[in-house]
């Protein structure tokens, strides 16, 4: 039997990215069908904490220490270290799984170049067939749902957030450590001079279960106060359209859509959002879509589950009152 690898990506404070716990859970599900063993791989200057976290989800984790990564952009040296492991493996892994966020994409691209392995990106589901992995993806802004495989039967897959719910394994796995190889792959280093946290950085939207999102109709930064209050009352994150971001009402990190992020929350509450295609492509797979809009003919009327026609401030404030009045 072969192996399925999960690359643990760095999260906040030296820990593991939450997306990696979802990817690890998916890998366990696949291994149950393929008969392969799941191996987690964490590369970093001090990989222990993230490796221990990943071991809650998979039976075996290899932590690769590369001290130089402390002051370097992570993805390129991490790709080189993973490529070293591929070179050294008795049999190369059948699948290397990562998250479809910035770090996962950057690593996947470099790893594909170093190993020649094919890469399928932004998986919305992965299943195992007799011919190997079958990877579901969304193309052309969600107009097509495709399933693809690897011609060589093996490759690299990046997985979108919220494709599976992270569930720890019944028993924690083992962690072993490996020093970075000396004679391995080398890619040019990119120095990190500073890591800057910006005041008011909002909760990340990619992993949120509930997103309350505002568009042009919100009217200004003050209007986002109501969006934030509703998000807080629902325990969700704040999202926005490109129009709201371009107007400077809310940072780009919260932008959902074609040149922003693709999200799949359980609930998407859209306030003053018309639902233009550029926004729709980022949120159309949400579990439930609820919209509040003055215009009953706005495009969002075609794909929301529930459309409340009205002023977003009047309806939003009434909703906030009801949510706050709920027990617990």
């Amino acid at each position: 039997m072969g192996e399925l690898w999960v690359i643990g990506e760095p999260g906040p404070d030296g820990g593991l990215a939450r997306l990696s716990t979802e990817v690890a859970t998916l890998a366990r599900e696949l291994a149950a069908a393929s008969g392969d063993d799941v191996v987690g791989i964490v590369v970093g200057a001090a990989p222990d904490a993230a490796a221990a976290e990943l071991a809650r989800f998979v039976p075996r984790v290899v932590g690769v220490t590369d001290a130089a990564i402390a002051e370097r952009a992570w993805s390129t040296p991490a790709a080189a270290r993973v490529a070293d492991l591929v070179d050294r493996a008795a049999t190369p892994p059948n699948l290397i799984l990562l998250g479809a966020g910035p770090d996962g994409r950057d690593l996947a691209g470099a790893l594909s170049a170093l190993t020649g392995l094919g890469v399928l990106t932004g998986a919305t589901a992965v299943t195992w067939t007799d011919a190997g992995p079958a990877v579901e993806m969304s193309a052309f802004g969600g107009k097509l749902s495709t399933t693809s495989g690897f011609t060589a039967g093996r490759g690299i897959v990046t997985v979108r957030p919220n494709v599976v719910t992270a569930v720890p394994a019944a028993a924690p796995g083992t962690v072993e450590t490996s020093e970075a190889s000396v004679a391995g792959h080398v890619l040019p280093a990119v120095a990190v001079l500073d890591r800057v946290s910006e005041a008011g950085a909002a909760a990340p939207i990619e992993e949120a279960r509930i997103i309350v999102s505002g568009g042009r109709g919100v009217g200004g930064p003050e209007g986002f106060g109501l969006v934030e209050q509703l998000a807080s009352a629902l325990g969700g994150a704040v999202g926005a359209t490109r129009a709201a971001v371009d107007s400077g009402w809310i940072p780009y990190s919260q932008q959902i859509g074609q040149t922003g992020k693709i999200v799949k929350p359980e609930l998407y509450l859209a306030l003053g959002i018309s639902g233009a295609i550029q926004h729709k492509v980022g949120m159309q797979t949400a579990g439930s879509i609820v919209a509040v809009n003055r215009d009953p003919d706005a495009p969002i009327a075609d794909f929301a589950d529930l459309l409340v026609v009205g002023d977003l401030f009047e309806v939003g404030n009434a909703l906030l009152e009801r949510l706050r009045a709920r027990p617990g």
């Binding site: 993805s75 390129t76 470099a110 399933t147 120095a191 990190v192 529930l306």
Partner: protein, 264 residues
């Protein structure tokens, strides 16, 4: 400052007429092509950097695309790029991401540049791995998710603000380097009438796999690393329930809806 911008013609997302032909490939006749959105941000950043650097600066567009691409590249030339390089070859139909990166890297080996700029991803497949892959193949420093680009020709280095979950990381690397670009770099300009006129006579060099020293049997559609198994329209969402009434009624319906679906 010499800059190459990687540009991909994609079906216009706003037109919404994308579909696959019987061969499982994009039916290009059905969907009008535009310059990929994130590539336009890369191009705008390149034009600003070239203008700031002054004399001797230029911006070259590099595109691997079917024969119809020059029409789309003209729009990017009209924004102010100096010239285009169009890699096209029948053998590239059905290429995978590995082939795309191989070919773009081979084409870049034939060009002179201080920086290569690319959009972080494309709107058709939303893969986002090609920039990193091209950089690794050329052993170029790779700086990604750029919100700001500050080259320093005196020291031969470039600084990039890379968007992070909580703010940004300030990256630095020697040039030449490859940078993936986001919308935060700034709104792309509209081509002026003068720019549109000038673009008509700008050079778009056509390059084949043979010109790049690549074997059509070893790269592209002949040896894809991935294969499309099925393509279907995703299931339509259920019909929309429309509520008209007072704000209080609307709010009450939302709370009931969320309770029914066990969201709250």
């Amino acid at each position: 400052m010499r800059i190459v911008v990687l540009v991909k013609p994609v079906p216009d997302p706003a037109a919404g007429s994308e579909r696959l032909g019987p061969d499982g490939r994009l039916d290009r006749a059905a969907a009008p092509a535009v310059v990929n959105g994130n590539d336009e941000y890369a191009l705008e950043a390149a034009l600003k950097l070239a203008a700031a650097a002054g004399e001797g600066s230029d911006v070259t567009l590099l595109s691997m695309a079917p024969g119809s691409a020059p029409e789309t590249l003209r729009k990017a030339l009209a924004m102010g790029a100096t010239r285009g390089v169009h890699v096209t070859d029948r053998a590239l139909a059905g290429s995978c991401a590995v082939a795309t990166a191989t070919v773009l890297a081979a084409a870049l080996r034939t060009l002179d540049y201080d920086l290569v700029l690319a959009g972080v991803d494309t709107s058709d497949g939303v893969g986002g791995t090609v920039p990193a892959s091209v950089a690794a193949r050329l052993a170029l420093p790779f700086l990604s998710y750029a919100a700001r680009i500050e080259p320093d020709e005196a020291s031969g280095t470039v600084r990039v603000r890379r968007i992070s979950a909580t703010g940004y990381d300030l990256l630095e690397a020697p040039m030449p380097a490859l940078i993936s670009c986001t919308q935060v770099l700034g709104e792309p300009r509209y081509p002026s009438l003068k720019g549109i006129m000038a673009a008509r006579s700008k050079e778009i060099a056509t390059v084949s796999l043979a010109d790049l020293g690549l074997d059509p049997a070893a790269v592209g559609g002949a040896v894809p690393t991935t294969s499309l198994l099925t393509a279907t329209a995703p299931p339509a969402r259920a019909a929309t329930e429309v509520v008209r009434g007072s704000p209080a009624e609307g709010a009450t319906r939302i709370v009931d809806f969320l309770s029914q679906r066990r969201i709250i």
